[in-house]
Structures are given as C-alpha cells and as structure tokens.
C-alpha cells in the first residue's frame, strides 16, 4: 500500500474531436495524441512542464519517447507500455501509471491513446496485400516454400485462423457468442438491448460520433448481418480521435484545477492458457472460451478495491461487440454465469433508471472507439458529476477493458 499522500488520482481528462474513420484530415494520428495530452493537462490546470511520465498500451504507434521530446518534457522518468493487446490494456495503462506515481517513480503520468483508422488500416477490414499462394516469398523454414517465415509469435498463431477466413474480430467473437448462445440461450434481442441502450446514451453526448443517429430495436434487427450472430450494430465504430488521462498523487492533486478521482484499484492479466484470447485460441477450456476471460481480473479487482459489484454506481464496460458486454457483466459478478442476456434485457443498463447504468457516454458502439481509454475518461466525468448521463451521487465506477483478450479493469472513486 502506498503512503496516503501518494494515493493515485486522476486529475485531468481530455480528448480531440471524434469523427468517423477518415473524418480527421487536418492532423495526423500522432498529432492527435499530443493534442489529447495537452487537452487533459489543461483540464487539470497543469502544463507539459509538470509531466514526467507517459503510458500507453500494446500496439501504440505513437511512441512515448517521441511524445516526450516533442512536448519538451523536462525529464522523462517513466515510459510504460502494457503488453495487454489492443483494447485489453487501457485500464492496465492507467493502473501502471498509478503504480508509477504511488511508488515514487514519477509524479505526473499521462496515459494516452490515438486511433485514426482512416490514416491506417481499418480494423474491420480483412488483411491487405496478402500474397497469393503462387507469389508467396520462398523464405519459409523447412521444405514448404509457400509457408512464409513468421515475423512474430502472433503471426505464427493467427496462421491457424487467417487462411480460414477468420481474419477480422467480429468473426472470431461471433463464434464466442454462438457458443454462449448454445450453452445459455442468449438471444440476438438481448444483445440488441446493449446497442439500443448505449445509442440512447450517446444522443445526449455532443462528442458522440453516433449522437445524431437514434436507433430502435427494429432498426437494430434490420441492420445487415456481418458475421452471424453479429449485425452491423453489434460492432463498434471505426473512427478517428484521441483521448488522454492525467494521473498523479493525492498530494499533487490538491493543487490541480479539478476534483480528483481516486484510483481505488486496478487489476490485469489472463487466465491459464488464455494466450492472446479467443481470437487465436479456440482450444481453451469451454468455461473460459464462452466468457470474457476476465474472472481472474474481476476477483483480484474486487479484493483490492474492498468493494463488490453491488457497491458500484455506474460502469463503463468495453464494448467492441454488444455480446461481449453481456459476458463481461457475468465475469464481473453483476449477474450469474449465463444470465448476462436477461440482465441486459431487464433494462438494467439504461440511464437513468437501470440498476447499473452502463456506458453513459455511448461506449465504443456509439461515442467512439479509442480502445476503451474513453471509457476511463467517462468514468472520471461521472465521479466529477460532469457526465451527459450523470448518475446522481455516483461515488464508484467500474471501468473494464476488452473482453476476449488478456484484459484489465479499474475501480474509480469520488474524492
């Protein structure tokens, strides 16, 4: 445990405008990451001269070392990158920043994420420029000339999925939901409740990419099928934008411009044998496969926070796909195993009257897909009383990162 004065707090949040993929043309993804950092610092009443640490998570193209140099940080004392893949690492990056300030490694750490799918590959597209078999490089090991040498462990693993047409996340996670449906009777309409509810939340959020696009259950059911059981509106957005979160100690927080939000607990990791998640591993135990894979993270999170799911006022749950929200709600203990669908269909997720308002900003389905760091931003706003779907008197917020990959989560608390 840290000394009281070094308890980690979030003192600033910021973002760039969010736009549909390709919608931001006047700044690069890298420039947006810097804009988001500056916006979060301005929110905190701090400047780049106060910052001595930067944190992000796996696959970030926007290296902290260059960010530090371009921002003119006086001295970089902490540069943390979580190994958790893709959207699994947003909460881990914040937890790592919190650990850095609590240990005294750094004083002010900014966590950032920028994603411009218009400038780079759209995640929902298949692989580009795949060599045809007849044209494949002949550098493969062994005697099989048409099998290329893998440049990474991950590439060797997805060789067992990509050539079979499982080369986009909705395909891999549709298979997880199909298994969940088979075991527990989860339905398409139950997934639809997630999509429709969070779209309604987005309607109140001026930052939301889909804010002006109301959706009914009929609209949801009429959207085109992508990979059964996932329709278009089961899938998160592909967009451009960036956001950032400033983490420092309680002692420093006393001087900042905003009401600090306490990082009550963070947890991260993966189940035994989980690998990179169901995207590349379908041989894991059945109870793990048909789940968010977050049971261990949840158990450790609640233990460290000293509270349980019944004590949470509002939750921001990673929503790359509607169905995986249901699985996360199960793993974090808001309902019994297999009951995520009925829980959502009961209206529990809806602001303001549901038992557990979820994704009050609209989530990745309707606000923006910034690998879930925007879910941390929204959690902070809820505990500052600044959400566009404010849960009255909210004192605790759960934030989760991606289901289906090694993942992480936070419990944030009002100061």
């Amino acid at each position: 445990m840290s000394a009281a004065g070094r308890t980690a707090c979030v003192v600033g949040v910021g973002e760039t405008p969010y736009a549909k993929w390709g919608g931001i043309t006047d700044a690069t993804e890298y420039q947006l990451s810097i804009q988001a950092i500056l916006a979060a610092l301005a929110d905190a009443g701090l400047s780049a001269d106060d910052v001595d640490g930067l944190a992000s998570f796996a696959g970030d193209r926007n290296d902290a070392t260059f960010v530090a140099a371009d921002l003119g940080l006086p001295e970089l004392r902490y540069a943390g990158l979580s190994w958790l893949p893709g959207g699994g690492g947003a909460c881990a990056a914040v937890a790592n920043a919190a650990a850095a300030v609590e240990s005294g490694t750094a004083e002010v750490v900014v966590v950032y994420r920028s994603l411009c799918q218009g400038q780079f590959r759209r995640f929902g597209r298949g692989p580009g420029n795949a060599p045809a078999p007849g044209n494949a490089p002949t550098t493969g090991p062994g005697r099989v000339p048409h099998v290329r040498r893998a440049r990474s462990i991950l590439e060797a693993h997805v060789a067992f999925t990509m050539p079979f047409g499982m080369f986009s996340p909705p395909i891999a996670y549709a298979m997880v939901l199909r298994r969940h449906m088979h075991r527990f009777g989860t339905t398409v309409e139950q997934m639809g409740h997630v999509a429709v509810t969070t779209r309604a939340h987005a309607a109140r959020n001026p930052r939301a990419v889909m804010g002006g696009r109301p959706m009914t259950m009929e609209d949801y059911l009429a959207s085109r099928m992508v990979s059964d059981p996932f329709r278009l509106f089961d899938c998160c957005l592909e967009n451009d934008g960036a956001c950032a979160v400033v983490v420092t100690t309680a002692e420093r927080a006393a001087d900042t411009a905003t009401a600090p939000v306490t990082v009550l607990a963070g947890a991260q990791g993966a189940l035994r044998g989980f690998g990179h998640g169901q995207y590349s591993n379908v041989s894991m135990p059945d109870d793990d496969y048909a789940s968010a894979g977050a049971r261990g993270v949840a158990r450790r999170l609640w233990a460290r926070a000293g509270i349980g799911p019944g004590d949470v006022d509002v939750a921001q749950v990673y929503d790359h796909f509607t169905g995986l929200v249901l699985l996360s709600l199960e793993d974090f203990g808001f309902c019994e195993r297999g009951e995520g669908g009925p829980f959502a269909a009961s209206g529990a997720l809806a602001w303001p009257d549901g038992a557990l308002p979820v994704n009050t900003h609209g989530g990745s389905l309707s606000e923006a897909y910034i690998h879930g760091l925007n879910h941390v931003v929204e959690g902070v706003r809820q505990l500052r009383g600044e959400s566009t779907c404010q849960v009255e008197g909210a004192e605790t917020c759960l934030v989760t990162s991606a289901a289906g990959v090694p993942t992480s989560a936070l419990v944030l608390g009002r100061w």
Binding site: A130, P133, A136, F160, P163, I171, V226, S227, P229, V282
Partner: protein, 152 residues
C-alpha cells in the same frame, strides 16, 4: 489438385520453428496435433514446450480427421474483395476426435450454411491452395446409409 472452395487471394500462413511441422504434414494431407512425448498432453496451436509438464519433447500425432462443430459463425461480409463470390461462408471451430480436446479453426464446405449446428459431426476435406500448401477444410460427416454429404 483438389476441389477448390476459397479464392487464391486468401491470406497464406506464416510459420515459426514450432509450427512448421504442422504445415508440412498438412501439405501431405495429414491432419496432426502436437503431443508431448513426456506426459501425453496435446496442444494447439503448437508451441515450444508442454505447458503441463514443461517438457520440450513432442511429436506430431496423426488424427483420424473427424470431429464435431464446437462453435461457428456464418460470415456474410466479404472482408477481402476476393471473397465476394464466396460469402456467405461458415467458419467453424472443430473439436477434433482423438486430439485430447484440441480444436481447430476451419471452414465448413459443401454444406448449406443454414444446416450448421453445434455438435454436427464433420470430416476433413483437403483444399490444395498451391503446389505445397494444403488447408484442412471440413464437411458434414457422411452418415452410413445417408446420401451425399450426410444429408438425410
């Protein structure tokens, strides 16, 4: 060359030192799974050591090429343009018979997508994608006394 179900433009596999033996067997139309020769545990995808007993010794165990559908999805969107004439296609995870619980991602071919179900028995159908690249697809297992493709 075998029957073809998928276009030439499909992504081709890349192999590591640990996985290349599986692809070599596939090129000969042999479906195998990696098995630890110390404790007998199977693993897929292949890896350098046994996660159960941590032995580095392993072998490629031949499989009968049959199994059941563990889960599936019917893909309607052509994520690469070359699949425009192929969609909808069915991606399956096959629980392989005799493989100690190992499952394989593959495709269900020669079967109406509306017929696929969890638990459906399937059998391997090799597709030669190039002179030395073969991929194990699966089709509905023939049932004794049934018509072609197991339809009754």
């Amino acid at each position: 060359m075998s029957e073809r179900w998928f276009p030439d433009e499909m992504p081709t596999p890349a192999a590591s030192a640990e996985t290349v033996g599986w692809w070599e067997a596939a090129a000969d139309h042999r479906l195998v799974v990696q098995r630890c020769t110390a404790c007998g545990t199977t693993r897929h995808p292949p890896g350098p050591l046994c996660p159960t007993c941590r032995s580095f010794a392993s072998e490629w165990m031949p499989l009968p090429g049959t199994g059941t559908v563990y889960t599936y999805t019917v893909v309607h969107q052509a994520f690469i343009p070359a699949l425009g004439d192929t969609v909808p296609y069915v991606v399956v995870a096959v629980e392989l018979d005799g493989a100690g619980g190992a499952r394989l991602v593959s495709d269900l071919v020669d079967t109406d997508p509306s017929d696929v179900a969890v638990g459906m028995p399937v059998e391997v159908a090799w597709e030669d994608m190039g002179p030395e690249l073969a991929l194990p697809r699966f089709r509905r297992a023939a049932v004794p006394g049934a018509g072609p493709g197991g339809r009754r």
